[in-house]
């Protein structure tokens, strides 16, 4: 059994005083994010076909499909739908991105999304197309 004493950590404390600080000067200095970081969701409206797979797999009810008009295919009239996103409930799991066959969705590295205005997190980019 080793000797019992108070202040056993003091030598290590002096050694660590000479080391660099463990913290970073955020927000004055930009933090380095890893390659796979999962941040705010983004959509490329050009690529979206309105297939609605993303809205079926989303566990947090972020994605709602909205009718934007109709289109004629052959002799049939089909509805055109596009997703709108309420990012305030997004849990950043990336399931929608994995399931998008047309690579329209991606998780960006943007993480500073706190806002006093909830409507800032409402994304309807896909409707504009």
């Amino acid at each position: 059994m080793p000797r019992r004493r108070a202040g056993a950590v003091i030598p290590e404390m002096f050694r660590q005083m000479l080391e660099k600080p463990s913290t970073q000067a955020y927000p004055y200095k930009q933090v380095k994010l890893p390659e796979r970081f999962r941040g705010k969701l983004d959509i490329d409206p050009e690529r979206c076909t309105g297939c609605a797979v993303c809205s079926l797999v989303c566990p947090a009810s972020v994605i709602t499909m909205v009718d934007t008009g109709t289109r004629i295919v052959g002799d049939r009239e089909l509805k055109v739908r596009r997703p709108v996103f309420d990012l305030s409930t997004c849990i950043f799991c990336g399931e929608c991105v994995d399931n998008c066959a047309f690579k329209a969705l991606e998780l960006t590295k943007q993480f500073e999304i706190a806002t006093p205005n909830k409507s800032d997190l409402f994304m309807n980019k896909a409707l504009s197309k």
């Binding site: 080793p2 056993a8 890893p34 390659e35 796979r36 999962r38 797999v57 990336g94």
Partner: protein, 438 residues
């Protein structure tokens, strides 16, 4: 005095607890909005000693199991991952394994190895967090700061592999969603070596440093028979010498292929738990190094249809805190018929109550931290001195300060802060409880 505690006495009557007089009851808990696992302990004291503990649980019943019945299989994976903020991966892993049991697909070997690596990283992160908290509640802040700094090493690795520090979202049915990043092997092995060095140093510190020994040695002592009788799981079973580890008893993921030693101790007190968890951390770090070096090639995932065949299946696995159990039942639809999950804190609660008996009020933080629960119950303690009819309230921080001042009086004089009653001696049968919001 009767007026003040009249309601309390009536409540105890209704709970069939008349054998204890109201003077000796101290409520402990239940709600603190900032933390996630509020529990309410009714403590029966004789002077400073705890003679009986009556728990009341269920304050954060979120209805996860019922919600699961109305959501598709894959959505439930992410919901169950959010059962816990520390051992999130192992919940989705166990739920995933239970669902995979209903399908005919074989899980790729590489996916099994990646699951093992992430699960062990999570174990290291959870154990480090616990050692830090143990330092905090015993008044050893230096250890707390150092350990939580070293924990960043694990969190950085988890973030680099999965993209998030806490909720990894790595699991999919029959595989994992992300492969290991290229060129990570050397970095992981090097970081694990660093953690093993640090864990060895902390083991030496907890063995020699007086603060730690004074507060943990002989605290929360329990016999192996009692632990076995009360069905303790995980570290709570291993610290009295029971060889209870699902990784060994019923291997899942790649635990059959990755060699490891089960760590047990015999002392059965809070100090043994500290050393046990640090030893387990070293074992986990070695397992990760081995798994990364022997990572097989091949696919990481098999895509399965969203409809799961009818049947029922259960799965269990070893979370950092003990055994996690999931049961699923399917009638061949898009949503489960029934999901049941059992978490280790519930299984360890009877053991914790047994540990609390015979301890002093000042040891409650240490004993309750020892089972590794969430600590929402600490705040909101009211004290009434019956003789002088004086009332005061202690927060968790003040209770911690009281614990430190009891064991190290000279230190607390220098550090005394935020004490509503600094140095107040709580002597025999002067405690009773004031009803406040229950």
């Amino acid at each position: 005095m009767i007026e003040q505690t009249g309601n309390a006495v009536r409540k105890e009557e209704s709970a069939g607890l008349m054998k204890y007089s109201a003077e000796n009851l101290v409520p402990f808990g239940p709600i603190h909005p900032a933390l996630k696992e509020p529990e309410y302990f009714k403590l029966v004291l004789e002077g400073e000693r705890i003679v009986e503990v009556i728990p009341r649980i269920g304050y954060v019943h979120r209805g996860l199991e019922k919600t699961a019945e109305s959501r598709p299989w894959v959505q439930n994976m992410y919901m169950f991952e959010r059962t816990c903020g520390i051992c999130s991966f192992v919940h989705s892993l166990t739920y995933g394994q239970a669902v995979e049991g209903l399908t005919i697909y074989e899980i790729p070997r590489r996916a099994k190895f990646i699951r093992t690596i992430i699960a062990e990283l999570e174990r290291i992160h959870s154990h480090l967090l616990w050692v830090g908290l143990m330092g905090h509640w015993t008044g050893f802040e230096t250890l707390f700061m150092w350990v939580w700094r070293d924990r960043e090493v694990v969190l950085d690795l988890v973030e680099a592999i999965s993209g998030n520090r806490v909720h990894k979202s790595m699991n999919a049915f029959c595989g994992v969603r992300r492969d290991m990043p290229e060129g990570m092997e050397d970095r992981i092995v090097e970081r694990m070596k660093f953690l093993v060095d640090r864990a060895n140093y902390y083991k030496q510190i907890v063995d020699t440093e007086e603060t730690m020994l004074e507060r943990t040695e002989g605290v929360g002592r329990i016999s192996p028979d009692t632990a076995e009788k009360l069905c303790a799981v995980g570290p709570m079973a291993r610290y009295v010498g029971l060889k209870h580890d699902i990784r060994l008893n019923d291997p899942y993921a790649a635990y059959e292929e990755v060699p490891f030693d089960i760590v047990t101790r015999k002392e059965g007190d809070a100090h043994a738990l500290l050393k046990l968890r640090l030893d387990e951390l070293i074992v986990s770090a070695n397992m990760i190094s081995y798994a990364v070096k022997h990572l097989p090639s091949g696919p990481i995932r098999i895509k399965i249809p969203p409809i799961i065949p009818a049947g029922e299946h259960s799965s269990h696995s070893e979370a950092p805190r003990g055994e996690i159990f999931y049961y699923v039942k399917s009638s061949g639809g898009r949503t489960p018929d029934r999901v049941k999950s059992r978490q280790p804190t519930l299984a360890n609660l009877p053991t914790a109550l047994e540990m609390l008996k015979g301890q002093t009020l000042a040891d409650i933080p240490v004993v309750l931290t020892a089972i590794d629960p969430c600590f929402g119950c600490m705040d909101r303690m009211s004290f009434v001195d019956i003789e002088s009819n004086k009332k005061w309230t202690w927060s968790g921080e003040q209770l911690r300060q009281y614990g430190i001042s009891k064991y190290f009086p000279e230190r607390s004089k220098k550090q005394a802060r935020t004490h509503s009653q600094p140095g107040q001696e709580v002597t025999s049968t002067k405690l009773c409880y004031k009803e406040e919001g229950f």
